[in-house]
């Protein structure tokens, strides 16, 4: 057999010869209702009015990552010590694990900060733990729904409500992405931008509790 005829045989064996067609307008609408890529500043004005879910998360190393250690020190002095080096963030993450509960079977992933000479907003380690716990409980809930385990589903719903109530804040309108509650909470916290993202989460949980878990499942799959 020649190589060409072998490739032709392989092409003919394609188990899905046509891309499935269909009207996916609803999916398109649901996706673009989510927060988009903030790097694209040229979104049309109408997009700005849509609800966007953008986790500001102090956990994210916004704009100041990859600074050299000396620069980090200078920056921290400059802006009042609100940024911390990786060991502090790691410790915040570990401390938060003692205050947060993961669902059965879940474990805390290692927090990897690739740049040793980077800085993170203070509280970022705790924020990372909160979003990790939220995602773990969302996935646990989605799994419970798939298995028809109502008790596990209720437990996940309660855990997520508790996280929202005790560990999640929404930044005021127009606040910067570095906004943090003042005074700094003693417990780990996560900040959502004032852009509808937090409402999207709450609505997803309410919909899941009412038997419509689509957004919950999507949130689990995309964030885990």
């Amino acid at each position: 057999m020649s190589t060409e005829s072998m490739m032709e045989r392989l092409r003919r064996a394609n188990p899905v010869t046509d891309a499935p067609a269909g009207d996916h307008g609803d999916l398109f609408t649901r996706i673009i209702a989510l927060p988009g890529d903030h790097r694209l500043a040229e979104s049309p004005p109408s997009r700005r009015t849509r609800p966007r879910r953008r986790i500001v998360a102090v956990a994210i190393v916004v704009g100041v990552a990859a600074l050299l250690a000396s620069t980090a020190f200078a920056i921290s002095q400059l802006i009042g010590g609100d940024v911390v080096p990786p060991p502090v963030t790691q410790q915040e993450y570990l401390d938060a694990q003692k205050q947060l509960v993961l669902p059965p079977g879940a474990s805390w992933p290692k927090l990897i900060i690739p740049e040793p000479n980077s800085v993170t907003n203070r509280g970022g380690g705790g924020g990372h733990a909160v979003i990790t716990a939220m995602t773990a409980w969302e996935c646990y809930w989605a799994d419970a729904i798939r298995k028809g385990d109502e008790a596990a589903g209720q437990r996940a719903h309660d855990a997520l409500d508790s996280l929202l109530a005790k560990h999640v804040y929404e930044a005021p309108v127009g606040a910067s992405e570095n906004w943090a509650p003042s005074p700094m909470p003693p417990t780990p916290f996560l900040v959502f931008a004032h852009d509808g993202g937090l409402q999207w989460k709450r609505a997803a949980y309410e919909q899941a509790a009412a038997g419509h878990p689509g957004n919950l499942i999507q949130s689990c799959r995309v964030n885990r």
Binding site: A19, H24, E42, P44, R47, R221
Partner: protein, 175 residues
């Protein structure tokens, strides 16, 4: 390369990416994913969130790379911690192929198999397939050449009665 549509708007830009939803679902189905439509929706969600990274002029390599990562992650989650020996055609491969070709494909490495399938089933050019795998086109052409030779040898062996030893299931490579 990534942004020839500056000024057009994110939504319009995403619309052209979203037009490949069916192609992504087909990719997932060909790779044996249990829920290809959901996976394709996830790929599009990620594409929306990282739209600046998606090459507008040719999004398929990027979309297939993302789909590959998700297929692989799904397969890893579905795999038990201590895997019992399974027949070759289980776990991540519900697609049905000609048994001889199926056995020959399974006996290849995942890297070889994906190189062949990106070209034969996804209809990518070698340059596109190279982008999807994150390797340079020359390296891809070499990989493809070797993969074709190996597959042909396996098929020749099979037709002369020698047995192909399955190496892995049709799961994904992690390049």
């Amino acid at each position: 390369m990534t942004n020839p549509l500056d000024g057009v708007g994110a939504e319009e830009r995403f619309r052209s990416v979203f037009s490949y939803l069916g192609a992504v679902a087909a990719y997932a189905r060909r790779r044996g994913n249990k829920d290809p439509d959901a996976l394709a929706a996830d790929v599009m969600t990620i594409a929306w969130r990282r739209l600046a990274d998606v090459p507008v002029d040719d999004p398929r390599p990027w979309l297939f790379a993302t789909a590959r990562n998700l297929v692989h992650a799904d397969a890893r989650r579905a795999r038990p911690a201590v895997a019992a020996p399974e027949p070759a055609a289980t776990a991540v491969d519900p697609v049905e192929l000609d048994p001889q070709l199926d056995a020959a494909l399974r006996s290849l490495s995942r890297a070889d198999r994906e190189a062949l399938l990106l070209v034969a089933w996804e209809d990518l050019t070698p340059s596109q397939a190279a982008r999807s795998l994150g390797i340079n086109p020359t390296a891809f052409r070499v990989r493809l050449l070797r993969a074709r030779r190996r597959l042909r040898a396996k098929l020749d062996d099979a037709s002369t009665g020698r047995r192909c030893e399955p190496k892995t299931n049709l799961d994904m490579e992690t390049t």
